[in-house]
């Protein structure tokens, strides 16, 4: 399955390239899908409450009152998944100097010129942005969400908090939708091999070498060739 050598993406396969490297543990994967399902539920029901044009979305999860009943609970389930993700991944999510250079040259990443970018650790700067964006958003959504859930528990004397909560909840939810769309797009159809890694837990050597080179050398224990 080789193509001509005239393209920059000339591909040759070798058994070595196709060897599998574990990337996500079973627990990480199960928790990821727990988060994905609970977020999607909140997304569908939240959009139903967001605009009359999407109110029909409530029907696909059992109708308006049912959607209203479960939305906060699924929000709490999602928060649990986010907390576990924080435990699993926060150590690999610290932004380093390579990430800052990567971020400055994100245009190259968007245009699939990844070879112009600094080598990437277990996660790239975009993934780190997504991670911290979701963690921060979850905290704000949880706090504002409680005030929407139990609106009468916010005393009338400080009812300005009710007004703040409604704006925060909607605005932050929109930010997460933006992050979520990019995440789903990139991990399902843009970056081949990503989706499978969250199902089976492993990636090929070539995938790791191409997209997460620093991580590849770290987990394989191979010496990096001097350039």
């Amino acid at each position: 399955m080789s193509t001509t050598d005239t393209t920059p993406r000339a591909r040759t396969t070798s058994a070595f390239d196709e060897e599998l490297i574990p990337r996500y543990t079973m627990v990480e994967r199960v928790n990821h899908w727990f988060g994905a399902i609970t977020y999607t539920y909140c997304l569908i029901t939240g959009l139903a409450f967001w605009t009359p044009y999407l109110y029909w979305m409530a029907a696909i999860v059992g109708g308006g009152p049912t959607a209203r009943f479960w939305h906060p609970w699924f929000g709490i389930f999602f928060t649990v998944s986010q907390f576990l993700m924080f435990l699993h991944w926060s150590g690999d999510m610290e932004v380093d100097n390579d990430d800052r250079v990567w971020a400055d040259n994100i245009q190259a990443y968007i245009e699939n010129e990844d070879d112009k970018l600094p080598p990437v650790g277990r996660f790239n700067w975009g993934q780190k942005l997504y991670f911290w964006g979701m963690v921060g958003s979850t905290i704000l959504l949880l706090l504002s969400g409680f005030m929407l859930w139990y609106v009468e528990a916010v005393p009338w004397s400080i009812h300005i908090l009710r007004y703040v909560a409604i704006l925060v909840h909607a605005s932050v939810a929109l930010i997460t939708i933006g992050l979520f769309l990019i995440h789903v797009y990139m991990s399902t159809i843009l970056e081949e091999g990503s989706f499978g890694s969250m199902i089976h837990g492993s990636v090929t050597r070539a995938w790791a070498w191409t997209f997460h080179r620093k991580w590849y050398y770290k987990v394989t224990g191979r010496a990096r060739p001097t350039e």
């Binding site: 993406r9 959607a67 968007i110 929407l148 909607a170 081949e192 070539a206 070498w209």
Partner: protein, 296 residues
């Protein structure tokens, strides 16, 4: 609107003019609460419970005659009792019947996400349709008067209907019917406004209340429940009646610019991602260079 079906516009086979054609009928209804003649008897509270089929709730004593601190999902009509010390040191007991104000520009309706859960009739009554209510509580945030209340058992929100079921068959609201002093009136908006202004004028010129006036707040484009107050310059004295009620700015932002910006951003995002895939396409893994394939 039942009046509209009795108003004749054209008559078949009829010689001469149409009787009543061109008559100016007013559909807008209004409840007038004259706080200056309220004696705090709570007959309106009882009548409201009785007509709407609720049992009397447990009272909460807070050093006043007031039944409970604020209206409840099953207690829509509450007289607020406030002791007020005047400049000359004398005391006044201000009593105001609190209930839904039936705003011309209702914040509850603006905030509600559920199709047909809140309707405003042509006569001005703002009514909750509990069958369509999903119990989200957005109306509670939208209301500047702290009126809609959530029922934990029904998981829906309730409030005063202005006895829409009575008004639609030509009866006055139950509270009006029960008032023994005549401090409650019910009629068309213009009649009630005129009566209120006459009473306020009387209070100013004959009863020593120079600041007496009518409460019909413009911030919500007027209400279908209006008050005569001894001191219209300080409505807050009457159990926290807001001086300038309006639909909260955050609700307006949320239901206005934020909604359209958000929808545009979501659609734009989807289109942008599709275009990215079409123009640039997928990222593929590349082969590891031969010099890096040697066993280490």
């Amino acid at each position: 609107m039942s009046q509209a079906s009795t108003e004749i516009v054209r008559i078949s086979g009829h010689a001469g003019t149409v009787p009543g054609a061109g008559l100016n009928r007013e559909y807008q209804v209004c409840k007038l609460v004259d706080t200056t003649t309220c004696i705090g008897c709570k007959a309106c509270e009882v009548a409201c419970l009785e007509w709407n089929g609720y049992t009397f709730s447990e009272t909460k004593f807070d050093n006043s005659y007031q039944t409970m601190p604020e209206t409840a999902w099953n207690y829509w009509n509450l007289i607020k009792f406030n002791e007020h010390e005047r400049d000359d040191g004398t005391m006044m007991l201000l009593m105001r019947k609190d209930q839904c104000m039936h705003c011309e520009d209702p914040g509850c309706l603006a905030a509600c996400p559920a199709d047909a859960a809140i309707v405003q009739y042509a006569n001005g009554i703002v009514d909750f349709q509990e069958a369509h209510c999903i119990g989200c509580g957005y109306c509670i945030t939208g209301c500047p008067f702290n009126i809609p209340k959530f029922s934990p058992t029904a998981r829906k929100v309730f409030k005063c209907t202005l006895c829409n079921d009575r008004v639609s068959v030509g009866l006055e609201p139950a509270c009006i019917k029960a008032c023994p002093t005549g401090c409650l009136h019910f009629g068309t908006k213009s009649e009630m406004k005129e009566l209120a202004e006459t009473r306020a004028d009387q209070l100013r010129s004959q009863s020593g209340f120079p600041d007496a006036g009518v409460y019909d707040p413009v911030g919500v484009s007027g209400t279908h429940v209006i008050y005569v107050l001894h001191d219209a310059k300080n409505p807050e004295l009457y159990g926290g009646l807001p001086r300038d009620p309006h639909i909260p700015l955050s609700v307006r932002l949320w239901k206005g610019p934020l909604k359209w910006l958000g929808n545009l951003a979501m659609l734009g995002g989807l289109v942008g991602l599709a275009l990215h895939y079409m123009r640039i396409g997928p990222k593929k893994e590349e082969p590891i260079p031969p010099e890096d394939r040697k066993p280490s």
